[in-house]
């Protein structure tokens, strides 16, 4: 379904991803862990189509289609979602306006009829209630003055609205207290189904207590050096990366 193969990426002549490969099947949850600087966030950004990276080799496929030639917005409308580690602020644009523009772009790209404003409002109300997001939050400018928890819940709200096939969560647990973490994890779990897949990038085992992964990968120096099940994360939490890094 989502396949990254032999991906080599550099930034200003520094190779960050080195022949990286990962295959994600429908409905699977893959956790990627690894020490700082191993290339996890780069992987997330390159998959989503951020500029400033040079792809030297490899492919990123979603349902057999190569994403590398597509712009970020096209990858999004084809079903790739990235939950940002640091969601971006846009002053003057209310969250609601942003959600509407985003959803309309998706509907238009997929030749679906755009929702009427009342239907859109109903949908937003329903999805935001599930994430304990109140009306006042979505009327504020996007991410401006949001707490860490509000920012991350807002990311999950967008994920819920856009109905993606592959979701990449880039350190979604960073900056969250226990309650917010549980809320965000529940939001993600509610979105799990037999078709939708997740790549969960994290430093800590804690998130994986809530979002149970099917696979856990250790990433180091731009590639995966070890793959296991959820017990691998527990092992890492106990003994650190040293046993795996040579």
């Amino acid at each position: 379904m989502f396949n990254v193969s032999n991906l080599t990426v550099s930034v200003e002549d520094n190779e960050i991803l080195n022949n990286f490969s990962l295959d994600v099947g429908p409905g699977e949850v893959h956790a990627i862990m690894g020490p700082n600087g191993s290339g996890k966030s780069t992987l997330a950004h390159v998959c989503a189509g951020k500029e400033d990276y040079t792809v030297l080799n490899g492919e990123i496929n979603l349902n057999g289609e190569d994403l590398l030639d597509l712009e970020a917005d096209e990858r999004s409308t084809k079903g790739l979602f990235l939950a940002f580690q640091y969601p971006i602020e846009i002053p003057g644009v209310t969250t609601l306006t942003f959600l509407k523009s985003s959803l309309e772009a998706h509907y238009k790209a997929n030749n679906k009829e755009v929702l009427s404003t009342p239907d859109f409002m109903k949908l937003v109300k329903k999805k935001s209630a599930e994430l304990n997001i109140d009306d006042s939050m979505i009327k504020r400018p996007l991410n401006v003055g949001f707490s860490g928890g509000e920012k991350k819940r807002n990311e999950i709200l967008q994920m819920a609205l856009l109905d993606p096939e592959i979701c990449i969560l880039d350190e979604t647990d960073s900056g969250l207290d226990i309650d917010a973490l549980r809320l965000v994890a529940e939001g993600v779990n509610n979105l799990r189904n037999e078709k939708r897949s997740f790549i969960v990038i994290t430093h800590y085992q804690r998130l994986l207590d809530y979002i149970k992964p099917d696979f856990v990968h250790i990433m180091y120096n731009g590639k995966i050096i070890e793959t296991g099940d959820s017990s691998l994360a527990l092992e890492l939490e106990k003994s650190g990366y040293n046993n795996y890094i040579k």
């Binding site: 951020k50 500029e51 917005d73 940002f84 003057g92 985003s102």
Partner: protein, 488 residues
């Protein structure tokens, strides 16, 4: 290519080359002798069949102009203007003054049709669009004014200034140059000497003008300056909302537009004046475009009067413009809402003056500057209170948004208070559309053009909301067009 670089490129490609109104109309015209002399002024005055006092008034202004120097304090650069290479009067042949619609040259009607300006009264009345009365000024003459009769039923005078000089001399003599004196500045003196046409509005006491009034200015002829003169008088307890639009053909040489607009609000009267300025801005290398040197000032002469300026400035190569309010009457209110967009090599030095003279006067300034390309965009504003202006209040907010790395934004606020009860607040921010914002929007499916439109419209939302409904949608589109392709 990083997103912002690409954006800047798109802005360069589309913003300027796609100036929609760059075509010109072929018409037989009548022009004044080239250059600025007493002969030219006499020619203009004679063409307009003006009374003797008007000619003397003009010649007096010309003498004052000769003794004045071009202002150099604004943050704009342009080669000095040779007034002897320029025509000061150009009019389509056989147009001596505004006529009824049936008599207007069909070629002219087509021009306005192409510009999207409704000149046919019936069409508007049929309910598709709300009522807007239009005075259409083509180069140096007003070609038609619509809805005149309907307005005159209420005692409202809406006509060209040339007509007003002939038909309502008492009003003109009383109010003309009472807000902007002839020798107020270099360009107001020039305008007073050679002004050709513009609009005149008088709203009688306790009358609410039933429709939006508007003037549409079009520069068509080559090598010709346009010198418009507009005078709006709102008598006691009246209200009027007035709109102004402008376009010009795409030409390689620079053309001068030096206008004077005067507003007078008497006791309890309110004037709302909105401008969408879209003169030709020059090409992507900064060749051509209009020099827009304009003096706009409103006088809140009576108690409890209010004047509100709203402007959307997207065109012109060089803009020098400070719509201002003199808050003379006690409890009077002045407002200034501005969106100024500069792209490619455009230069803007614009802002406002709020002069508090009366007691309990208040003013509000919301200025949104957006710079892209190689442009320079300066806000220059003055807020002052006289020693007798008890309890003067001002709130100023100046925000600048930068797109790309080659443009600049400047904020130059002057605050002068001579009364210790004044409370003046000033807030300013400068921000930039970042690659990260573009990427974030992209990741949510919003393409680069729509993302910029979304961010920019969010940035100037407060000002767009101030425009009359009829203009708001147009202006929102224009904001999009002048920065990238089109906005839905």
């Amino acid at each position: 290519m990083p997103a912002v670089k690409e954006t800047v490129k798109q802005v360069d490609d589309i913003g300027v080359d796609k100036y929609k109104f760059g075509w010109s109309t072929d018409l037989e015209t009548e022009t004044a002798p080239i250059g600025l002399t007493e002969e030219t002024i006499k020619f203009i005055s004679k063409k307009k069949n003006e009374p003797e006092w008007m000619l003397e008034w003009r010649l007096d202004a010309y003498q004052r102009f000769l003794s004045m120097k071009e202002p150099e304090w604004a943050k704009v650069n342009y080669p000095s203007i040779n007034y002897n290479d320029m025509y000061f009067y150009s009019a389509p042949k056989d147009v001596d003054g505004p006529k009824s619609l049936d008599e207007v040259d069909p070629e002219l009607l087509k021009t306005y049709d192409k510009l999207g300006i409704p000149l046919k009264e019936q069409e508007i009345l049929s309910g598709v669009k709300s009522n807007i009365a239009v005075d259409a000024v083509f180069d140096s003459v007003s070609v038609v004014t619509t809805f005149k009769e309907k307005l005159s039923e209420e005692g409202i005078i809406f006509c060209s200034i040339s007509e007003a000089i002939k038909d309502h001399p008492e009003l003109v003599r009383k109010y003309l140059s009472s807000v902007v004196p002839k020798s107020d500045n270099y360009y107001s003196a020039l305008n007073s000497a050679v002004f050709t046409d513009g609009s005149f509005v008088y709203i009688p006491p306790n009358t609410r003008c039933p429709m939006e009034l508007s003037t549409y200015f079009r520069i068509n002829a080559e090598n010709t300056g346009q010198f418009e003169r507009t005078l709006v008088i709102a008598d006691k307890g009246s209200y009027v909302s007035y709109l102004e639009g402008c376009t010009a053909p795409q030409r390689d040489e620079n053309q001068l537009h030096a206008a004077v607009v005067e507003l007078v609000a008497l006791e309890n009267a309110e004037i709302k004046y909105s401008t969408v300025q879209n003169w030709y801005p020059g090409d992507e290398n900064g060749v051509g475009g209009i020099y827009n040197f304009v003096t706009k000032r409103g006088d809140c002469r009576g108690k409890n009067s209010k004047i509100s300026w709203t402007q959307v400035e997207t065109g012109s190569a060089v803009t020098w413009k400070y719509p201002s309010c003199i808050l003379r009457g006690d409890n009077s209110v002045g407002e200034f809402y501005s969106i100024a967009i500069s792209n490619s090599y455009q230069q803007i030095d614009s802002g406002t003056k709020m002069v508090h003279l009366g007691k309990n006067t208040s003013s509000k300034i919301i200025s949104k500057g957006i710079s892209a390309g190689h442009s320079s965009n300066a806000y220059r504003g003055l807020v002052s209170s006289h020693r007798r202006a008890e309890n003067a209040r001002n709130f100023t907010q100046c925000d600048s948004l930068l797109i790309g790395n080659k443009c600049s934004a400047h904020t130059v606020p002057y605050i002068e208070t001579k009364n210790s009860t004044s409370v003046f607040e000033h807030e300013a921010t400068t921000s930039k559309i970042s690659d990260d914002q573009i990427f974030y929007c992209g990741q949510r499916g919003i393409n680069i053009e729509d993302a910029i439109a979304l961010i920019v419209n969010g940035f100037c939302k407060e000002v767009l909301q101030e425009l009359p409904m009829e203009f708001a949608v147009e202006a929102q589109k224009l904001v999009g067009i002048s920065l990238e392709g089109s906005v839905g």
